[in-house]
Symmetry: C2
Subunit: 461 residues, 2 copies
């Protein structure tokens, strides 16, 4: 107990130097999508490797088909300590539109905000500020006798462009990277400015485009309307029958593997400060659609969905055209939870579509991906320890949150390294990531570093 207080004090005492280091990193315009910034991405990678080396760790900058990946290794003072892999990314989104920034996006500054001081710069929140909370935690340990866990560092530079090189890199360095037993990912948000969160559920995503074809060419609806199958009607029937009146998806077997929430988690979610009316109102809505009997949070975090993301067929310009189209198409996506199997869902969907094809209609399926949900076991020891550590630092119970979307790299850790991930981040929903005047709360940065001190200590206890 004495030692961890010393480490935490070290964070507090060296805040100004920590800020200087973060600002140095923020000054590097490491925009990954624009080739004009390639050398700046390399600079950011080198800067990070130097930081790790400065702490006495091994570190190198490894080339990939895209931007380099930094890998570092640090030993705990105890040989038998647990081994974690920390992931962050050094690349950022382009700062455009520049004219909407109140200051140079790559000239970081402190400004007053509604939750106190804020660091304003491109990448302040996504993900340089978050990444540096962890490095500063390690630095504080090194000044006080060393790390409680072995740590492998993995910093990539292509997260904002879909991490194209990461899966190949994980496969190539599987043996080296798999020495860690748990991934720590710092790229998510708190529940609110006062309440930390661990994201333990990510919905999976299965996407399939359906093209329905009828007559061999577009026809005049007067001269031919009546005996000709209309692909838009067929598609409409498919779309219309995918949900029942209770908002449930009608695909056979769709709910196989969909778990009910543990009561403790359900209870925590019920108590969250969350105003459904305000949330819906911000979307122009007055009441929640979807499955009856489920809260909005449950629907987004823990329930599967089926949505049509796009549909097109026939004439879509202004006015009217009397055409019977030869084809119509729609893009379907399924958000998956728990143990739902993406491949089985798509199989069931394709059968559902085929069963609704009248004579002479043909269907073509185009797959756009299929990934299962990721769920950290609620009973995991690491999760409990991290939750307690966060609760201690913030004096508020850390929320075990879901995330309606997917975070591909977490899927890659699970798939390629068979490694679970604790997603812990200190961003706030109003951080304006990807937008002008991106910011990171000073409290997030300060208490984020302190949080990692507590978490690493708890994991090794």
């Amino acid at each position: 107990m004495a030692r961890i207080e010393a480490v935490l004090n070290s964070i507090d005492a060296n805040l100004e130097a920590s800020r200087e280091r973060l600002f140095d990193l923020l000054r590097i315009p490491s925009v990954s999508t624009d080739p004009a910034f390639t050398q700046h991405c390399a600079r950011a990678a080198n800067w990070l490797a130097e930081q790790l080396k400065g702490l006495g760790y091994s570190a190198d900058v490894r080339p990939t088909p895209g931007h380099p990946i930094v890998v570092g290794h640090a030993q705990a003072k105890r040989k038998d300590a647990p081994h974690v892999l920390f992931y962050g990314h050094y690349d950022v989104q382009p700062p455009d539109p520049l004219e909407l920034w109140e200051s140079d996006p790559f000239a970081p500054r402190l400004a007053a905000g509604k939750d106190g001081q804020e660091i304003v710069a491109r990448g302040a929140s996504d993900d340089k500020g978050q990444l540096m909370t962890f490095i500063e935690a390690c630095r504080a340990f090194e000044a006080n006798g060393g790390l409680p866990c072995h740590v492998t560092f993995l910093f990539e530079g292509e997260e904002e462009t879909g991490s194209p090189s990461l899966p190949g890199f994980l496969a190539e360095h599987k043996e080296e990277l798999s020495q860690a037993g748990l991934a720590l990912v710092c790229d998510t948000s708190m529940w609110n400015a006062h309440t930390p969160a661990i994201t333990v559920m990510l919905r999976g995503l299965a996407q399939e485009e359906v093209i329905i074809r009828g007559p061999s060419h577009d026809l005049h609806s007067g001269m031919f309307g009546g005996p000709v199958p209309n692909p838009i009607h067929i598609l409409g029937k498919i779309v219309g029958e995918l949900h029942d009146d209770a908002g449930q998806v009608t695909l056979p077997g769709f709910y196989d593997g969909v778990p009910e929430l543990p009561e403790a988690v359900a209870e925590q979610w019920r108590k969250l400060e969350f105003n459904e009316s305000e949330f819906l109102s911000s979307l122009g809505l007055t009441c929640a659609a979807g499955e009856t009997g489920r809260s909005v949070i449950e629907k987004i975090w823990a329930r599967p969905t089926c949505d049509v993301n796009g549909i097109v067929g026939g004439y879509t310009g202004r006015g009217a055209k009397t055409v019977l189209p030869a084809q119509a198409s729609a893009k379907f996506s399924f958000r998956l939870v728990g143990a739902q199997d993406a491949k089985s869902v798509l199989e069931s969907f394709r059968n559902f579509v085929r069963a609704r094809l009248p004579a002479d209609a043909q269907v073509e399926f185009l797959n756009h991906g299929a990934s299962n949900a990721l769920q950290l076991p609620f009973g995991s020891e690491a999760l409990s320890r991290a939750q307690r550590a966060l609760t201690e630092e913030w004096d508020k119970e850390a929320v075990l949150a879901g995330c309606g979307g997917s975070i591909p790299i977490v899927g890659a850790f699970k798939r390629d390294l068979d490694m679970d991930a604790l997603m812990i981040g200190f961003a706030l929903d109003d951080d304006r990531i990807h937008s002008p005047n991106e910011k990171y709360s000073w409290t997030s940065f300060h208490k984020g570093a302190r949080s990692w001190v507590r978490i690493l200590d708890a994991l090794a206890a």
Copy 2:
């Protein structure tokens, strides 16, 4: 009987001169849509007025906001003779693409075709050749004691651009034009090269665009999918529920006013040389869709339909995008028959849509027109006489045909002049109207003129 033989003989004896006159008209490039040809439209109108004057009729070229309309009047030898209005149009489609013509589109020529000699030129079939069959019939009467009917001639020059000036013109000259009791329109086809047809049914058309709105803006389907109403789903349900399993439209009251065919007509249609398989095969189909228990011809000519002509919503580019769209829209059209009321159908449709809107969904309707079907009474005396006259000339029973589409000018005659129309034309389905190498069968031209002699004679009998 003796006199009509003389008139018919006069047609036969003067064929070469008739051809010369038609070729003169075909040489005028009266393309209505292209301002570069405006003076040629005027030339064609003047040429027609001169033809009528040459026959001793009154005729003048009247200006409109667009191209001029020719009006002529001819007296029958008997004061109490019936009075008909003959409609044709002197304008033509542009000849493009010119490189696909085997000869100059405005240098008419005779060529050998599968049904005998053909007149090849832009406008040969649509509508100059058809129009001239009637003038040549009048000429033959004038050479043999005069017309059996009073005739008002109405030749417009904007049919190919949607007849924008015609309704105003009809309204302005209603008293003058309404002296006729029946319109004769020569702008349609025969059943086949040997079988004449009178088009007695035109389907009506009601068109309504539906825009469904859900959330106030596009949303990420991961971050928001579940509690948000998806406009594409709502639209899909509407489209999917518009037809039942028997192919019938489910709108309440939709079939009010839909008549069953008189048995004689049904019997004639059953006996038509029409190969459903070949017809469907030309559309890439193997069996007919739509209402069960109805023939293809009945479905197109005499049954109402509901079709979606276009639908669009969300992301429609390549690949996938996880968007919950704020809106989706579709263009619906209803083909109407018999006494169906277009306004009532649209009213029922809008109620049908509103009944399927969940909470928070809004709908906007955009009307794109509503016209009832046109049907010449099957028991009409003029129809029986014209049918007998055609049957006599062609030695094949004239088909009482329907037309799945609409012919706006016939609707204008009914609406603005309260005048029924007999649609009789001698075009063939393979005349390549609007396409390169347009042609008109020499037999159509020759026997077409003879047919009008018999029809005018029969109407006056």
